[in-house]
């Protein structure tokens, strides 16, 4: 029974982590511009992240190390600096985008411009990290995050042509806007396969004192939780395809077009639901990434880390998240368009994948860490596939960024 509660909580938590401004914005854009045709990208991304999250959890449960710890240990300090800086940078941009997402939701709710909200949002995030415990943050955000299920409800109520939805699960070549199509696909993959998801998950496993008995739990949470998150993304895409298309919007280039998504289904409450979903999903992600920045540095340099410690007991750890939240609020305060930042940071995330995923190939096959629980053929094939995908994405992202994003 306890395990069951644990699993359901874990699933809900991973939804909170999975669904953030990146997956919402990319899914909405893809739906508006290309109908159901990019569903395959969400599916592919979800499958990849299931494998990576499962491995990160398994690694932490069996070895007692987080992924970041182990990268430093196995590959040495000099090699560690590359993924460290890449991830710090990507996290910084994504966190900024998340703060922007909450700020936009606040703008919808109050009418006051989003840039005024960036600092209050960052402050609120910081306050929760400062005062809250890991369990409180994880579970609180997770349960509130269930509100995003309204997208799935809306998708079903709009009665899409399920055959067309299923056809979208198979990759196809675009009829128009080739550059934009591939750029969207890359952004969706970046939004789904975020390095912070699996590095955060492995830190969470240590914070929750997982051990070998949690392997089954881990598998269930990784598989079901990420599937759940992916389903909501697909929901957003379907709603966007049906609603925005019907209103003649075939290109989302402004956040203000988004609240339209839920209005045809739920009326005024659709507007409220959208704001709540956007705010909660982005707020949860901002919390997780803030923590992740601190985990990353503290684990990499071997300092004390843990969200349950009082700031006074762990000044370095708390100092890092304080600083990174403050820095991440700056671009939004200066008025940088959160939607553009989101899409850009998702593409950069995809390009940074090889740096964080290549270590999985070694760590998860290292008997000194994972013993008999090392990767099987399928998991290794998945890692190699993701690495190859990451390399391709890294190579194509930059030209697409220049030509497709404009």
């Amino acid at each position: 029974m306890k395990k069951l509660v644990e699993i359901s909580l874990g699933i809900v938590t991973s939804v909170g982590g999975f669904l953030e401004v990146g997956s919402m914005a990319t899914a909405a854009q893809a739906g508006a511009t290309f109908g159901f045709r990019l569903i395959w990208a969400i599916l592919l991304g979800t499958i990849c992240i299931i494998f990576l999250v499962e491995m990160a959890g398994r690694f932490a449960s069996v070895s007692g190390h987080t992924i970041v710890d182990a990268i430093r240990e196995r590959f040495g300090f000099n090699a560690f600096l590359w993924p460290l800086f890449a991830t710090l940078l990507v996290n910084f941009m994504v966190m900024s985008a998340e703060i922007g997402g909450v700020a936009i939701a606040a703008e919808f709710a109050t009418g006051i411009g989003f840039q005024w909200w960036a600092l209050p949002v960052a402050f609120l995030t910081w306050l929760l990290l400062w005062k809250g415990t890991f369990g409180f943050i994880e579970k609180g955000v997770a349960i509130l995050g269930l509100v995003t299920l309204c997208f799935v409800v809306a998708a079903v109520m709009l009665k899409p042509d399920w055959k067309a939805v299923a056809a979208g699960a198979i990759p196809s070549l675009p009829e128009h806007d080739g550059a934009n199509y591939w750029f969207m696909a890359v952004s969706i993959l970046g939004a789904s396969i975020s390095p912070y998801l699996f590095t955060f998950y492995s830190s969470g496993a240590i914070e929750d004192h997982w051990n070998k008995t949690y392997l089954g739990t881990n598998r269930a949470i990784a598989g079901l939780g990420m599937t759940f998150g992916g389903t909501i993304s697909v929901g957003v895409l379907i709603v966007a395809a049906l609603v925005l298309g019907a209103h003649g919007i075939n290109q989302v280039n402004d956040y203000h077009q988004l609240p339209l998504l839920l209005i045809p289904t739920f009326g005024f409450w659709g507007f409220v639901l959208f704001i709540a979903s956007l705010a909660i999903a982005c707020f949860g992600a901002a919390l997780e990434i803030g923590l992740q920045q601190a985990y990353l540095v503290a684990q990499g340099f071997g300092w004390t880390w843990g969200e349950d410690l009082k700031p006074r007991e762990d000044p370095a750890f708390c100092g890092i998240y304080t600083l990174s939240l403050l820095l991440a609020a700056i671009p939004i305060t200066l008025g940088l368009d959160p939607l553009k930042l989101t899409i850009f940071s998702m593409a950069v995330t995809a390009a940074s994948l090889p740096l964080t995923v290549v270590p999985f190939l070694f760590l998860l096959n290292d008997e000194r860490y994972v013993g008999e629980h090392r990767n099987g053929m399928i998991s290794n094939a998945a890692v190699i596939f993701i690495i190859a995908l990451g390399f391709v994405l890294a190579v194509v992202t930059i030209p697409l960024q220049i030509f497709g994003g404009s």
Partner: protein, 119 residues
């Protein structure tokens, strides 16, 4: 024991289980006609910077001396005889509060973090 695999870059915890850093460096004594002997592990920014090259090492040493005084001009060393256990973590028989390793964290606590309400 394989030094690079089993020792270097591993987590160091003190006698009270406080995580004090990673094994950033390993110091060996060269003796005539006898194998080199490990005498200490090193921790800290200066050691790490030196691993990136001679010049970053010099810069970091200068910076540390400027900020922390003479006490911080050299990397922190923990003598090999203090190392108790080599497992997932490296356990050392010292009390981090009696060393200079966490001076900067103390400073951060006393001057910044501690002044924020609720810390």
């Amino acid at each position: 024991m394989d030094l690079l695999r089993d020792l270097l870059d591993k987590q160091v915890v003190d006698r009270k289980q406080v995580k004090i850093g990673k094994v950033d460096g390993l110091v060996a004594e060269l003796r005539p006609d006898k194998p080199p002997r490990i005498v200490a592990i090193e921790l800290g920014a200066i050691t790490l910077a030196r691993r990136l090259g001679a010049r970053p090492g010099r810069w970091m040493a200068w910076l540390a001396a400027r900020l922390g005084g003479e006490r911080h001009a050299e990397p922190h060393r923990i003598a090999w005889k203090k190392v108790r256990d080599i497992d997932v973590d490296i356990k050392v028989d010292i009390d981090v509060r009696r060393t200079a390793i966490f001076d900067w964290q103390d400073w951060l606590r006393d001057h910044v973090i501690g002044r924020i309400p609720g810390a």
